[in-house]
Amino acid sequence: MSNRMRHQTAGIKPSRSGWASPAALVGAVAVGLLLYFCVLPLALLVKHSFQGGDPFASYRLVASRAANWSALKGTLTVASGAAAIAFLLGVPLGWLVAATDLPGARSWRSLLALPYVVPAYIGAVGWTYLLSDRAGWLNRLLTEGLGAPALPVSIYSLEGIIFIEGVFFSPFVLMAVAEAVERIDPALEEAARVSGAGPVRVWLDVTWPMVRRAALGGALLAFLGTCASYGVPAVLGPSARPPVSVLTTRIKGYIDLHTTGGFRQATALSAVLLLAALAFPLAERTSGSDSRSAGSRPAGRKPVALGRWRTAALAGVGAVFGLTTFLPILALLISSLMENVGRGFSWENLSLVHYWVVLRRPEAGLALRNSFLLAASAATLAVGVGGTLALMQARGGLRWGWVLTPLAWLPYAAPGTVLAIGAILAYTGAWGINLYGTLWMLLAAYAAKYLALAYRMAAAGIEQVHPSMEEAARISGASRLRSILEVLVPMVRGHLVAAWFLVFMPSFGELTMSILLFGPDTPTLGTMLFELQSYEDPSAASVLAVLIVAVILLSNALVRRLSGGRYGI
């Protein structure tokens, strides 16, 4: 009884779940990080674009240039094309690996995510070995070897850029579709079969409506990612016939004027891409029906039997993989083993000299270590912050969530150069902290750039967990934070690991931002690659590209091995 009395007095003393609770603190920190690392740099840039006598002068100037309008058209063409390719590759492949008895489906799923492992600009270089106008190995094989009429396919073309970007982003669609397919209750499809629908009909009427949102979301992500990408159009665009110009290359052109005016025009032009970022969550929300399910993934889903199509499907998947992914990586590997690419295929030209050149560099080990640490920390940070934001959004802890989450998309849509300049403006002491020349600067930039990917993946996971799972833990005696860490997090672990990789992989070989932000003691693989590309033999750059791919593949394999194949890409 006295015990009860004690509780009563304790009860009257406020024990609120307000700001002071650890969970709320974590939430506040996440929102703070979002504002400080994603919004501040870009806000400073946008503010910059309005400076000068007439606040809209830069915008008027930018709008008056026909070249900017054609660049906008270029961006829209390339991005829609890439989104379409990602969609057309990702939907059937995602379904095949997740829903059918395709031989080796699980392995294919990892392999088909490979394009995302290879940084797109490196992939582009690989493709130039294969499909440059006249000297491309494939082109020469077609014309000289097989005596085909002189009809070489050139990767230096609008189609080439679209193809590479589309393939690069196709894993977004594939992963989303595969995941959505697995969540479908097989009873729904069986019900349709029983109702008299053939397999195709079932796919169109039942399966497709349930994966549509995931597929379109992935395609939108590809669209936005392509809008912001610089490497591929920069490598291939100018030599294309007719030349392809996009917003990011225009923006870089303005920045390279190194004048105040040029800088303002660059930011004004970037604002267009930032607007696209803000529109993204809206576009995604309206892109289809919600396939939310209350429980965990249904057990006992039987793979769709492909029957006589099984071999054909296997051949198709293999061909797609070979043509889109294996070939360019192979090309990079081969070129890395050539003493000089100009001397072509011969024993005499086979050499490990470039591996030697790259690996003996004093900064090689440091760069590898830095990049690994940075990418791993950025991935962890992005998953932590993105996961927290997603959680607050999903569980209603975030009243202004509808304002905050679109902000997370800003850095993703901003070209890397623009984001890096924003980071310099924001973190060199004028706004509280000075990260200059340290690894933290790079960490902040990587985590901010790819936060949206982590956020989105985490949100997809949390969406599948009914709030009663955490509530049951609360009732059992767990604090809010503990219910999240011990119940929610283990339940969405697969999504979090995937989110981690989505950030880790592009951060590991990141080039555009790194080259502006690295300090004297903080070389990364990206900055090293830049150096190799700009002066060393191109084969040396291939070496580093091969190493980047190898490290990422090994990490993925390691995670999959350690988790018994459950986690990873």
Binding site: V26, I421, I424, G437, F518
Partner: protein
């Protein structure tokens, strides 16, 4: 035990978010020894040789290097200046126009060391805001597996001829400072019609010099306009490329060195400039297959004498740079219109 496990969980989460706090701390609290920040685009080989020598010659000052392409250095400086200040004390990159622009904005601190007297006057800013530390040279390279020496082009001007139709690659002035310098010079001497003719003969515009080199090496475009240093290095690596010094004048592009006006280490900065201009510093430039600004120091192995190149009259001397600096935007715009529209 159980609460300990839970505590560990909490700690893990807390650690994640404490990262933010660490971020804030990392920027400060390092021991302060005078530092001299050098932003440069010189090549790794040069740096490997120059940095220890310079450090040895400058006891008491810690030399800090930020090494990136000329474009990146300039973008970084622009952003830093917009944020209020730059840590850079010394700039040493390849784009002479940028130094002229910085000078006009009063962002450079004039200094003319005695060693500068050995540099040709045409390569020295009269006010001493910047001076040339080395020079890059734009020449023609070709794939020797495809053309023999007597088939190779001899001048820039002839690249518009029908026999080079679809065989030529040039650098992109929108991406590369040396390509911009070359376009400035050639459009000045040969007129924009030259570039219109190049476009008509299906010239390919590639990003930087190494990309141009790769096109030549693979035979995709067996003839190209690129820097001598790329060709010299490639030849050393047994690449099948050969060099033509065009008879109508290889373009000499001086790479300046300058002291940033806001430096807090003016004395150390001047010492560093003197070191770079000293015979020891100048000799290091050759490691990057570039010409030292001091014609008294031998150029890179296997190259034509610097004075003979200067005599051809296609050098971006300070007068030319002064005149063209304001025109850079128009140059890029016009080039873009001719080549990309």
């Amino acid at each position: 035990m159980n609460s300990a496990a839970g505590g560990a969980c909490l700690q893990r989460a807390a650690a994640l978010f404490l990262l933010a706090g660490c971020l804030a701390l990392s920027g400060c609290g390092e021991p302060k020894e005078p530092e001299l920040w050098i932003y440069t685009s010189i090549y790794r080989e040069v740096l490997d040789k120059l940095a220890p020598q310079a450090q040895a010659a400058m006891a008491g000052v810690k030399l800090r290097w930020y090494k990136a392409g000329s474009e990146e250095v300039a973008a970084r400086i622009t952003a830093e200046l917009a944020s209020g200040q730059t840590p850079a004390d010394i700039l040493m990159t390849a784009d002479p126009f940028w130094y002229q622009a910085l000078k006009e904005e009063g962002l450079l601190r004039p200094y003319r060391p005695p060693e500068a007297s050995r540099v040709p006057p045409a390569l020295t800013d009269p006010e001493g805001a910047y001076l040339t530390s080395r020079a890059a040279v734009m020449v023609i390279g070709y794939n020797a597996q495809i053309f023999s020496a007597d088939q190779a082009p001899e001048t820039f001007a002839e690249l518009t001829q029908p026999r080079w139709q679809g065989k030529v690659v040039i650098g992109d002035p929108l991406k590369s400072g040396t390509a911009l310098a070359t376009v400035a010079m050639l459009s000045n001497k040969l007129g924009w019609d030259y570039f219109k003719a190049l476009r008509a003969s299906d010239v390919v515009v590639e990003g930087g010099n190494s990309a141009v080199l790769r096109r030549i090496e693979t035979g995709d475009r067996p003839v190209g306009v690129l820097l001598l240093e790329n060709l010299l290095k490639a030849r050393e690596n047994r690449s099948p490329v050969e060099i033509v010094y065009p008879r109508d004048g290889a373009v000499v592009i001086p790479s300046p060195i300058a002291i940033v006006a806001g430096t807090d280490q003016p004395v150390a900065a001047e010492r560093f400039v003197r070191f770079v201009m000293s015979p020891e510093g100048q000799r290091a430039m050759v490691e990057g297959y570039m010409y030292p600004a001091d014609p008294g120091i031998a150029g890179p192995k296997g190259s034509a004498p610097f004075t003979s190149l200067l005599a051809m009259g296609r050098c971006l001397d300070t007068k030319f740079v002064r005149e063209m600096t304001a025109e850079r935007e128009t140059l890029k715009e016009t080039f873009g219109q001719i080549m990309f529209e």
